[in-house]
Symmetry: C2
Subunit: 497 residues, 2 copies
């Protein structure tokens, strides 16, 4: 890459990251030359390139400005590049998976950098509120009892004593801890109170728990597909992913996991046993027990992400793998973000034998999640209302799932396959082989509809014909039209986009 191309890339990155916003002036040729220590002609060449790419424009006598659509264009380009990369290594890659090398090394060193870029591009493009949010990771906040929570907050802050703030920051709000322990007991589990660490949402719980059981370079077994945050976290902590396939009907392939555990020095396993993101599948109890025995046999710690624990459609709450943990190996992570209080950022981990280490790491990293949020949720849980709210929420999500499934059947290509999860707010689609979900994403975004393309859920760029769609927002005419648009895009591109 030549110097002017490098410099153009730097500016493009700033645009993609939103550091240089639409309408903003970029440094003049002279300023840039001085600031970056490059010649004026290099800067000029770089700006010429960026103009040609449609990212910036010169205005007479006032310099260069970022154009309105620059950011979207840059996202699209990153996606295209990632796709090109996949195409380039497509055939060998597929073959490599079939005839896996004996040491498993090639398969366990995934191309994570591209994934993280992809994920951020997708996340950033979702921020436009005029887009139909099928690609969102969150259910609509309108589904939650925000005004009742606000009343709880008012009451809780009145009761909060200044003297208790110090101690509560170290160990979490005591009423909240008790309420969480109580819900475990309702589910037939008896975790020790001192196993609970309150965190800034489940994300922080997962991040701390993973750090407590791994060192840089370690292998971690994750699902394929998987929640993209796990890929980003592994990348950041210099951990290597061993991908274990998830079957849409039965969940994680335990035989493959057993084989990998026997062969590779895996340090931890990270999975969702219930309402898996993105596939939506849950393990049945027999498989959960089987899985636990396997991990216990190898003394491998389990990071059980159970953020959707309360979003089941059936009559009885499924038990997590944690319910079978008689050896303190399971770190069970939960959250109120998806079932009660979005934006409050309160989660927890029931950390088993790692709880004390997780609490210490939390103190070193962020000290404590917000106390008013903890106190408000504790008050809400104490004064009842949660179960009634959850019943309504589940009913509503189940209805919305039905509406999205019906629309998919009506508008999507006939060969499309889809899961029918027993809860949550995601559907996982497998489109006909001619549909490339990254292309579809790009085209759909231009048409005002988002979706989560399959490759962001994999360290190896798989699931190119798949996508996750969110039905956790109120179903309206607009949703219906958006489904139709997606269907049309897939049909129009039947030649292979």
């Amino acid at each position: 890459m030549k110097r002017y191309e490098q410099f153009a890339e730097q500016i493009a990155t700033l645009i993609r990251q939103g550091v240089l916003a639409a309408g903003e002036r970029i440094p003049s040729v002279r300023q840039a030359s001085r600031h970056y220590g490059i010649s004026q002609s290099t800067v000029f060449q770089a700006y010429y390139l960026l103009e040609n790419r449609g990212l910036i424009a010169a205005r007479e006598r006032s310099g260069y400005f970022v154009l309105e659509n620059a950011r979207v264009l840059e996202h699209a380009r990153v996606l295209e590049n990632a796709r090109a990369l996949e195409h380039a290594r497509g055939p060998e890659h597929a073959q490599r998976q079939e005839n896996e090398p004996q040491d498993g090394a090639a398969h366990t060193v995934p191309t994570q950098v591209a994934v993280s870029e992809l994920v951020f591009s997708v996340l950033e493009s979702l921020q436009d509120t005029s887009t139909v949010p099928f690609g969102s990771a969150f259910p609509s906040a309108e589904l939650f009892p925000l005004s009742r929570l606000a009343a709880s907050m008012t009451r809780a802050l009145r009761a909060m004593s200044p003297q208790s703030i110090g101690a509560d920051m170290t160990s979490g709000h005591p009423d909240l801890r008790r309420q969480i322990a109580l819900r475990y007991r309702l589910g037939g589990m008896q975790p020790e109170l001192n196993e609970l660490v309150i965190t800034n949402g489940a994300m922080e719980a997962l991040s701390l728990a993973l750090q407590c059981v791994t060192e840089p370079g370690d292998l971690v077994a994750i699902e394929a597909p998987t929640f993209y945050a796990s890929l980003q976290l592994l990348e950041r902590l210099n951990l290597r992913a061993v991908e274990i396939p998830v079957d849409p009907d039965r969940g994680l392939d335990i035989d493959v996991l057993a084989e990998r555990l026997a062969r590779l020095p895996i340090k931890a396993c990270w999975l969702m046993s219930h309402l898996h993101n993105p596939v939506g599948v849950s393990l049945d109890e027999t498989r959960k027990q089987q899985l636990y025995r396997l991990l216990k046999q190898h003394q491998v710690a389990l990071l059980e992400d159970d953020a959707y624990a309360e979003l089941y459609f059936g009559d009885t709450p499924p038990r997590p793998i944690k319910a079978f943990d008689d050896d303190g190996l399971v770190m069970h992570c939960g959250s109120f973000s998806k079932c009660l209080a979005p934006g409050y950022r309160v989660g927890w981990v029931s950390g088993g034998r790692f709880a004390a280490a997780i609490e210490r790491l939390k103190l070193m990293t962020s000290i404590s999640p917000s106390l008013p949020a903890q106190a408000a949720i504790a008050d809400y849980l104490q004064h009842g209302g949660l179960d009634r709210h959850l019943r309504r929420l589940r009913q509503r999500l189940e209805q919305q799932q039905g509406l999205m499934l019906a629309a998919a059947q009506q508008y999507f290509p006939a060969e499309t396959r889809v899961t029918r999860p027993e809860g949550g707010y995601f559907l996982w689609f497998e489109f006909p082989a001619r549909v490339d979900s990254l292309s579809l994403f790009r085209q759909a975004m231009s048409a005002g509809v988002s979706l989560a393309p399959g490759p962001i859920f994999s360290a190896t760029g798989d699931f190119r014909h798949c996508a996750r769609l969110n039905y956790g927002h109120l179903w309206t005419e607009r949703s219906e039209r958006a489904m139709k648009t997606l269907g049309q895009l897939m049909t129009a591109n039947s030649g292979g986009v």
Copy 2:
């Protein structure tokens, strides 16, 4: 170490960490033998050892129980061991500092594990509310307008729209961002709005910022003494500390820093330019500029911890080093925890050229700090009252500083030296050489008074005759008596504890 000693150590650690609490039953000899795969006689020997140490006791026919004082005893033992370790390497260590090796390696690989244990022991012992909290890191929450904040919270939650929750989680509450930017402008600074990343307190800001500019193994210049959290964080991220001395009157020794920067591949510098913790000193503007030029010349990123920005006693707010940053090198970290809203956990970093990277890392680590807390603080800032509150707070802290200084003069040994910071809520004492602050800490804790012993502020176990005392709590008869107690302990131990 024999097997039974190892096992005893495991149980003692659980007691120290509070996993096994006072009064709790520990596993029976038979259970422990089965669970840990060791012989019953090994377990028995271990329990016998723990009984002799005064940690557990057998009750007839009901097994072994943790004794009331076990945890405190264990803390004391850890402290003693750390002290013994220092004694053991004392002379060579001191000499090593004088005749420093050319490559600086020995001096830049500190014994951090012991420090972290020490810090946690001290922090845990502070949780007892019956103790006079001179060792605390926080000012009393009673100094803050908690009920006014609660009113702001109620108003803010009423105004919060469910639709905005998603976007606000990514980029922070927009009103809060604007208010923070406004306060920078009042101080004559013009940071770009998109340089601001809202975080879960200053601690998360510092943790994210440090990770964005370093890789494991890198060298980071820190102050000696320094805020202990920086030592813990460096330890956790496998970074190596290069300690730069802080002079109680003039602050960081810039000449030493210049020499180190010239000689060592230092990747970042972490410091407090204003009301340094624990010493209390501030750099004057000339030194701040000098320091900035030096860092800019070496293109070394600066992590400027400015958590006490608002706690100055003078008439005009001191400007941070960030005010001189024309190259985006300074990551300026602030917080509302120490000046307005303890326990709300809202801080920020004005991240310069690293802002976009910090924001991404935040999304991967904890997604977002609590939105209700952000909204409440934004409302409070908008509806005025902050400046009046701050004036009262500063006045009160200044009075309390005077009271503690007077008490120290009355009760502490005559040779004691003390700083007189122009703000904040800490005094840094240097006691006569015969006083060992770890011993003093242990004895003071038994007498119901806490303090922060010098060695927890150093990677190399220095400052053994120093201690930090907190005057940020209401000054009462009890405080007065506690100062007297400390003075008596130091006199009683004049033989050298």
